[in-house]
């Protein structure tokens, strides 16, 4: 298998793009990732999208993006894995390039969520859980996380206020990200006084679903040196799964797909947790980030919230998290999140992350999970 490199990144701002179609957002991101490289050199296109089918935006978004980009005719396919769609699409691109079949692959994550009212979007998002045994009862993905948060608080003795460092850090970092939806800081007091969405989850501990597109160009080693001055190597790529329904898990507070895909990726990269200098995970709520850090082995069980409280997750801490604002401040572009996080981490590795820069970062870990963690995709990125 060949080594695989990221040679281009692009993204639109995340937000409410009333005047933009999914295709126009996707093409803008792809054009930015291509830069001076002609689109005709792209050998295959993987499009990540979680909701475009269920929200009746468009199915077959692969050919849709290829057509809009003027490269109709090439191999193009859409990938749906809920909020893990981006990471799973990137994995397919890495496999395609590593196999030697293609030299240059484009990965585009695109989501158009604001053309429908909130209730329609909640219904579509809830389908990432088990439709027959969870969604039919009116449970939302947010409520599933809320139940895990309450149980976590019960088991480990935390209060709601202990979780505030996660959204506070995300918003502080989002200020430096030109594509972030919310470029302002918030205080722990604001988090505490926000109205409830699904107890114990308040409004400022819930991401906002929005529109956006992000793109990556993936190249073989030989091509990477020709087309990029600063290629970033994908040192590992791993996808794992867990049960679709939360209630099917022996221990609901343990995200086993996260545990497996993190361990597999670290092993493939011949690294340990201490080698990771900056990371980004799916973090629509602080409890999500906390459980991901624990299952991934970055924190002891029950200790991730304490780590955040002690400042470890800030850009100056030992475990810098959400340096582009995370789902909370960047905005939640659902199936495109897994591409946004890689775009942001590539900027970190190139020293271009502004005020959220982690000094000297040369190894990063990107991980996205689908829904309540039924899919987890992990990538380790290195600047050589």
């Amino acid at each position: 298998m060949r080594n695989v490199y990221i040679v281009g990144t692009g993204a639109t701002p995340v937000g409410e793009h009333w005047d933009r179609s999914a295709a126009s957002l996707a093409v803008e991101a792809l054009a930015a990732a291509l830069g001076d490289i002609p689109a005709s050199r792209v050998g295959a296109l993987y499009v990540a999208s979680a909701l475009n089918g269920s929200l009746e935006v468009q199915s077959q978004v692969g050919p849709m993006v290829a057509t809009a980009a003027g490269i109709s005719g090439i191999e193009a396919v859409s990938i749906e894995a809920g909020t893990a769609s981006g990471g799973v699409a990137l994995r397919q691109a890495c496999l395609a390039v590593a196999s030697g079949i293609v030299d240059l692959v484009a990965v585009v994550g695109v989501e158009k969520t604001t053309d429908v009212l909130d209730a329609r979007r909640e219904r579509a998002l809830a389908l990432a859980g088990d439709a027959e045994w969870e969604a039919i009862h009116g449970v939302t993905t947010t409520a599933l996380w809320a139940m895990l948060m309450r149980r976590y608080m019960h088991n480990y003795g935390y209060g709601i206020e202990d979780f505030a460092p996660f959204p506070v850090n995300a918003h502080a970092n989002g200020v430096a990200n030109p594509n972030a939806m919310y470029r302002f800081a918030i205080t722990a007091d604001k988090v505490r006084s926000a109205p409830m969405v699904a107890e114990p989850l308040g409004l400022l501990d819930c991401s906002t679903a929005a529109d956006g597109a992000a793109a990556l160009l993936i190249a073989s080693e030989g091509l990477a040196r020709d087309v990029s001055a600063a290629p970033v190597r994908v040192a590992a790529s791993a996808v794992a799964t867990d049960t679709l329904a939360l209630h099917s898990r022996h221990d609901p507070l343990w995200l086993s797909a996260v545990a497996h895909s993190t361990a597999t990726a670290l092993r493939a990269a011949r690294m340990t947790h201490r080698d990771i200098q900056v990371l980004d995970v799916t973090d629509p709520h602080s409890i999500t980030a906390a459980l991901v850090l624990e299952a991934g082995g970055f924190a002891e069980r029950g200790a991730a919230v304490a780590l955040a409280r002690d400042g470890a997750i800030t850009p100056k801490g030992a475990l810098p998290l959400a340096t582009g604002g995370g789902c909370k401040a960047r905005g939640d572009a659902v199936g495109a999140n897994g591409i946004y996080q890689v775009v942001e981490l590539v900027a970190q590795l190139r020293g271009q992350a502004g005020a959220a820069q982690v000094a000297g970062a040369s190894v990063a870990l990107a991980q996205c999970i689908g829904g309540i963690g039924a899919t987890a995709a992990t990538h380790i990125l290195t600047m050589e």
Binding site: D118, E132, I136, A146, H247
Partner: protein, 130 residues
């Protein structure tokens, strides 16, 4: 119409019928298809008692389409006596009445209506044991 997809799991929805493994005695809910390699009679139908305790709970205030009229409503993970964990709404109780480990029992209620010309979907919810 969504008739078949609700009809085919009516025993589970209406009387909490899961499955029991004929040799190990393990009880599972919801019922699941046979896995590759399993003998066709590995699992037998088994009606659960409907009694359990609240593992965790929340209140849905931003409901999905189809549940707008019910919001805000209580949702819970219930640990059933026989072992399985099940996701369902809590009913017949106030929003501030619920605690972790509270004993609950299964009742049959309307889950949702599928529009003016569609089905009314019934199924299990749980209420506090008085």
């Amino acid at each position: 119409m969504d008739l078949a997809k609700h009809w085919r799991i009516r025993h589970a929805r209406y009387r909490l019928e899961g499955q029991r493994h004929r040799t190990t005695g393990e009880v599972r809910f919801p019922p699941a298809p046979l896995r590759p390699g399993e003998a066709h009679d590995s699992w037998e139908p088994y009606v659960l008692s409907g009694r359990g305790r609240v593992y965790s709970f929340s209140i849905v205030r931003q409901p999905p389409e189809g549940y707008d009229e019910q919001a805000p409503y209580l949702i819970a993970l219930v640990r059933l006596e026989e072992g399985p964990l099940v996701t369902a709404q809590l009913t017949d109780c106030d929003l501030d009445q619920v605690t972790i480990d509270m004993p609950v029992e299964m009742v049959t209620r309307k889950l949702r209506a599928l529009g003016p010309t569609g089905l009314i979907v019934y199924g299990y919810k749980f209420r506090p044991v008085v």
